[in-house]
Each structure stands twice: as structure tokens, then as C-alpha cells.
């Protein structure tokens, strides 16, 4: 399905989890589709990066649930700062681990998880809804009961997926993308490339780009190719790296739709396919600090569809190259 189709399944007022971490492997193509939509009044649940900044600047967020928002190489997310300082978003500020256990509880259909975090901190003061729980065992410890962070929908970006919704990450860290999908009623996985299932573990050559319909596109199970098409196992193992099944992060029962989105995490990091676009991120942060410059940035990069965005980015780099 397309990014716009995926976002078309959402509605205003929903609680939306966004995968990745800071300015790392954010589902930016899906976020850009969200920016183009008329959705509003969202509760966004994220280890926040420019996804949060962009959505806040566009007035899409009513409430943010997050332990931080950062651009990593630029510590402070400028739009998040502005939104907080202007009081235009509400915030549920949780500790990083509380956040993880909240997602975990949601994925396990539990009401809460006990954690040794938050006690003594102002996280409890600014979240008066948080409760503690006393261990029923001999220790009798009083711990914070982090409520399940149940999501109406999750948006994540992975490196590869098959048409059935099995998602694979190839970078150094899975972040919590599997938890986001498990915690959600519906999960939309964008990926750099949709490939045949057989290429996920023996993958990487790109010889057999999937031509089947991806999940969510009506024909929910993409056509499988016959064994004759595959070539010999010997041939495959000599050319293709063994990825290991542990790279298979997201499983199809948790996935509602798959979206092919090459360069879809741009401008955040998506190693090993590409690193963070630091020059572009800097331009983003600079523009975000000034309303007039931001209007120019929006017009230049965010007024059109994903294809137009990607060509505007290419043009940006061509110009950078000329001036460098």
C-alpha cells in the first residue's frame, strides 16, 4: 500500500506510536504522509525526534507521550521546544524505561508493569495519574505501576519487509519497533525495499525485488514465486550474505500494511542503507528556529508528495555541492 493509503486508515483523535529513536530510523515517509493528511488532535507516543517536531509544528499533536525529543547530533528538537514553550501541546513525560515497560505491558495485554523508576522524581508530580503498586511477596517493595501504552496504530520504518508484513532490520539497533507493533491495534511498516520472503534471511543482492501486492493493498498475501524461479541454493549462499533470522524483527500477525518507502527514514539515520543526512538536518533545525524561514522550508520541501520531497532533497544536495 502507499504511505497515503496507510495514513488514510487513521482518524483524528487516535493514539499513534512512532518507532525509531531520536533522529534514528524514524518512519519519515509515513510522517510526511501524515503531514499531508487532514488528521489532527493526535496523541503521539514516541522516543521523540524530528517526527515529533514536524507533527507539532503542523499542529497535528494534542498530546505527546515521550521521555525526550532530540535530533541526536543537535541535542534539542527546535519545534518541540517551541511547542512546549508556547503551550501548544500537552505532554505526558515518562522516563525512557517506563516508556519501554508501558509498551511491553500493552503488547502483553497487561494493565501495567512494575518498575523501579520514577519514585522520588518529578515524573510522578507531573503525571498525577501514575500509581504505585506494592509487591505481594516478602520484599513488600513499592514500585511504580507504568500503565500500558496501548496504541490505535503504530508507524515504523524497517530496512526490508516481505509483502506479507514480515519486517527485517539490518542496522545496529532494533530500537523498540517490534514493541510498537505489538502494542498497536494496527501497525504500518514502511521499508526501504519490499523483497521476497526468501531474501530476508539470505538477502541483500536485490535480484528479486518483489513485484507482488504488498499487505494492505487488497490482495493481502503477495504472490509467492515458484521454487523454479529461485535459483540453486548453492548459487544463493555464495552470493548473498547470511542475515540471520534474528534480524526478523516484526512478524506479520502484528502488521496491517506494508509500504515501500525508499529513503523513507530521511533525514534520520537508517544504517547500513544510509546515515543521517546531517546537512539537511542542520537546514531543518536552522529553519525551525525562525517562523519565516520555516515557511520557506515547508514550501520548498513539504508542500508536495513524497516524490517531490525526495527530488527537493536531491536538489538541496546539488546546491550544497556547488557552494561547498
Amino acid at each position: 500500500m502507499s504511505a497515503d493509503e496507510a495514513i488514510g486508515r487513521l482518524s483524528s483523535g487516535m493514539t499513534i506510536g512512532i518507532g525509531g529513536w531520536g533522529s534514528r530510523r524514524k518512519p519519515m515517509a509515513l510522517v510526511r504522509a501524515l503531514l499531508r493528511s487532514d488528521l489532527t488532535d493526535l496523541t503521539v507516543v514516541a522516543y521523540g525526534g524530528p517526527d515529533v517536531g514536524l507533527l507539532a509544528a503542523a499542529g497535528k499533536i494534542r498530546r505527546l507521550v515521550a521521555p525526550f525529543a532530540t535530533l541526536d547530533s543537535i541535542p534539542l528538537e527546535p519545534h518541540f521546544r517551541t511547542a512546549r514553550q508556547n503551550g501548544t501541546i500537552e505532554l505526558t513525560e515518562l522516563d525512557e524505561a517506563m516508556f519501554m515497560w508501558g509498551l511491553t505491558a500493552a503488547g502483553q495485554r497487561l494493565p501495567f508493569m512494575p518498575v523501579r523508576a520514577g519514585l522520588g522524581s518529578d515524573v510522578l508530580r507531573v503525571n498525577p495519574q501514575l500509581r504505585t503498586v506494592t509487591s505481594p511477596y516478602e520484599d513488600g517493595e513499592e514500585l511504580v505501576a507504568v500503565p500500558a501504552l496501548r496504541l490505535d496504530a503504530a508507524l515504523v520504518h524497517l530496512h526490508r519487509a516481505d509483502a506479507q508484513g514480515n519486517g527485517q532490520y539490518l542496522g545496529p539497533d532494533p530500537y523498540f519497533d517490534d514493541l510498537f507493533c505489538e502494542a498497536a491495534d494496527a501497525a504500518y511498516v514502511s521499508c526501504e525495499r519490499i523483497v521476497e520472503s526468501e531474501e530476508l534471511v539470505y538477502g541483500g543482492s536485490g535480484r528479486t525485488e518483489s513485484t507482488g501486492d504488498a499487505k494492505g493493498s487488497g490482495n493481502s498475501k503477495g504472490p509467492r514465486r515458484s521454487a523454479d524461479d529461485r535459483g540453486s541454493t548453492d548459487d544463493r549462499s555464495s552470493k548473498d550474505p547470511w542475515r540471520g533470522p534474528q534480524t526478523m524483527l516484526v512478524k506479520r500477525p502484528f502488521v496491517t500494511g506494508v509500504v515501500a518507502a525508499p529513503n523513507g527514514a530521511h533525514f534520520t539515520a537508517c544504517e547500513p542503507d544510509y546515515g543521517r543526512d546531517e546537512a539537511f538536518q542542520k537546514a531543518y533545525a536552522t529553519a525551525a528556529a525562525d517562523p519565516e524561514e520555516w515557511a520557506v522550508f515547508v514550501k520548498r520541501f513539504l508542500a508536495g508528495d513524497e516524490r517531490e520531497y525526495q527530488s527537493a532533497v536531491s536538489a538541496f544536495h546539488e546546491r550544497e555541492g556547488e557552494t561547498a
Binding site: 525512557e96 524505561a97 523508576a117 513499592e142
Partner: protein
């Protein structure tokens, strides 16, 4: 398990271009800070050193190359480094995988000593990195609480403050992210059970909470810093011991490691003004 000496060898410095041995330049303030940070991980054992900031990163690497060879270090992402590259340089050896979810297991089991930054810190070690002003509508939004609440309740948490001032060392922090001794005490035994703030290190000195009521005291001052100067730069009453020692100077070997092996580009000077 503990390391064997063979896999933790100290890299050799580049060969000297001159045959005339020149006396090393005097130790800078930044180098005293590096040394003080390294000392925070002395005797830490086989735990993850999580330095935040350039000077603590140099310090952690110095500790691993010298008196704390069993420390674990990350590349800043999800890999545990089997080597000790210069700051800013790429690690060539990976000894382990540490994605965020496993990082949290090291935190929760106390197998980590983190050195965090602080936008504000008070006399009992309460730390703020979230926002300045009223939380509901902050004058300055900063990072957010990040992992400070779980860090402080589970693994040793020290702080590095590159610019000691009344803006940072405050009477009361605006938002308690990292939990200090008084707040942990008030929250009860689950909060105090593993709570420990070993040190606060600034460009002026080293501070700890080894006082009867756990209020911050001077442990040592860097050479050239007076008690009066620190008092003026601190927004609360510091405990001053009868004898204020000087921060230990790096040995010639430590200085060489800092200058030639760990930070040949001098990144430490960008964080601490001379």
C-alpha cells in the same frame, strides 16, 4: 568474566618526529577534568561506563587503558567496543551488542556507572535536564527526563558539568529528573535500595555527598581554583572540609595517553575553557 591482559593492550603512540625529548606542556584544566572523570570509574569492575560529554568519554577511555581494564565501552550506538579508539575515531573491534533494550538491563542490574550532564543540580544531587521554569509551560524546554529517573534508582550515577556556575548549581531544581539523596529518602526503601551518586565533577573541582545529611561537599579542587571561587559559583552552601585537597595530576603516562592516543585532536579543550 575478567579480561586477560592480552586483549587490553595499550596502543602505541605515533613515533616521535624529534630525537630531542621536549618536556611535556603543563597539564591543562581540561586534562585535570579528564583525570577526575577517569577516577570516577576506578575500581568499578566489569561494568558499562556510560560517559555523556567529551571529557567524560576521554576519562572513561583513560580508565579502561589504565586502572580499570574491565570496563565496557560503547561506540555511542549499539556496539560494545573491543578496542579503545581515539574520541571521534571509529572502533575497529566489536566485543558485544548493546541495543537500548539490553542497555536497560545493565542499568536495572547496576552493572553500569553513568556520568550524565545536568542543566541544574542541587545540594542533594537532584538533577534536571528536562526544562527550566514551570513544567506546565516552561521558559526553556530542554531534552526531557530521558533515563535519569531509572538511572539514579538503579546504577551509580555521577554528573559532569563543564561550566560550574550559579545557573547550574542551584538551590532547587525546576524538575527533578535524576533523584537526589533527600528525594530518594523521602520516596522510601525502593528508591534508596540501589541509589548512589558517587561524584559530581565540574571544571572547578570534584564534589561528593559523603556528609551526614548527604549534602554536597568539596572533595578536591583543580589546581588554581580557590574555595572562594567555587562558593561564588555555587547557588547553595557547599560543605567545605578543613583540608581541601587538590585533584590528582595525571601521571606522565596518563598525560601521554590523553594527548597522543585518546584525544590527539584536542576535543577536550572545546568543552573546558582554559
Amino acid at each position: 568474566m575478567n579480561s586477560t591482559p592480552t586483549n587490553r593492550t595499550v596502543p602505541s603512540p605515533p613515533p616521535s618526529t624529534s630525537n630531542q625529548p621536549t618536556p611535556p606542556a603543563p597539564t591543562t584544566r581540561a586534562e585535570y577534568c579528564v583525570l577526575a572523570c577517569a577516577e570516577a570509574w576506578r575500581g568499578a569492575g566489569e561494568v558499562l561506563a556510560s560517559p555523556m560529554g567529551t571529557v567524560p568519554s576521554i576519562g572513561a577511555r583513560l580508565a579502561r587503558l589504565t586502572f580499570s581494564p574491565d570496563l565496557l565501552l560503547t561506540d555511542g550506538e549499539a556496539l560494545l567496543m573491543g578496542d579503545v579508539p581515539a574520541v571521534g575515531a571509529r572502533s575497529e573491534v566489536t566485543e558485544g551488542w548493546l541495543p537500548y533494550r539490553q542497555h536497560l538491563a545493565l542499568v536495572a542490574t547496576g552493572r553500569r556507572h553513568v556520568m550524565m550532564g545536568a542543566s541544574q543540580i542541587d545540594r542533594f544531587g537532584n538533577q534536571n535536564i528536562s526544562c527550566v521554569g514551570e513544567w506546565s509551560r516552561p521558559a526553556r524546554q530542554l531534552l526531557g527526563v530521558r533515563g535519569a529517573p531509572i538511572n539514579t534508582l538503579n546504577n551509580p550515577t555521577s554528573y559532569w558539568i563543564p561550566r560550574h556556575s550559579r545557573r547550574t548549581f542551584v538551590e532547587r531544581v525546576d524538575m527533578v529528573c535524576g533523584v537526589g539523596y533527600d528525594r530518594a529518602e523521602a520516596a522510601g526503601p525502593s528508591a534508596t535500595r540501589y541509589h548512589h551518586i558517587p561524584e559530581v565533577i565540574s571544571d572547578l573541582g570534584v564534589f561528593d555527598f559523603s556528609t551526614p545529611d548527604h549534602s554536597m561537599r568539596i572533595r578536591s579542587l583543580h589546581p588554581g581554583v580557590s574555595v572562594e571561587q567555587v562558593r561564588e559559583a555555587t547557588g547553595f552552601e557547599l560543605v567545605v572540609p578543613p583540608e581541601v585537597p587538590e585533584t590528582r595530576a595525571p601521571t606522565a603516562a596518563e598525560l601521554r595517553l590523553i594527548r597522543e592516543v585518546i584525544d590527539p585532536r584536542g576535543l577536550r579543550d572545546r568543552e573546558v575553557r582554559t
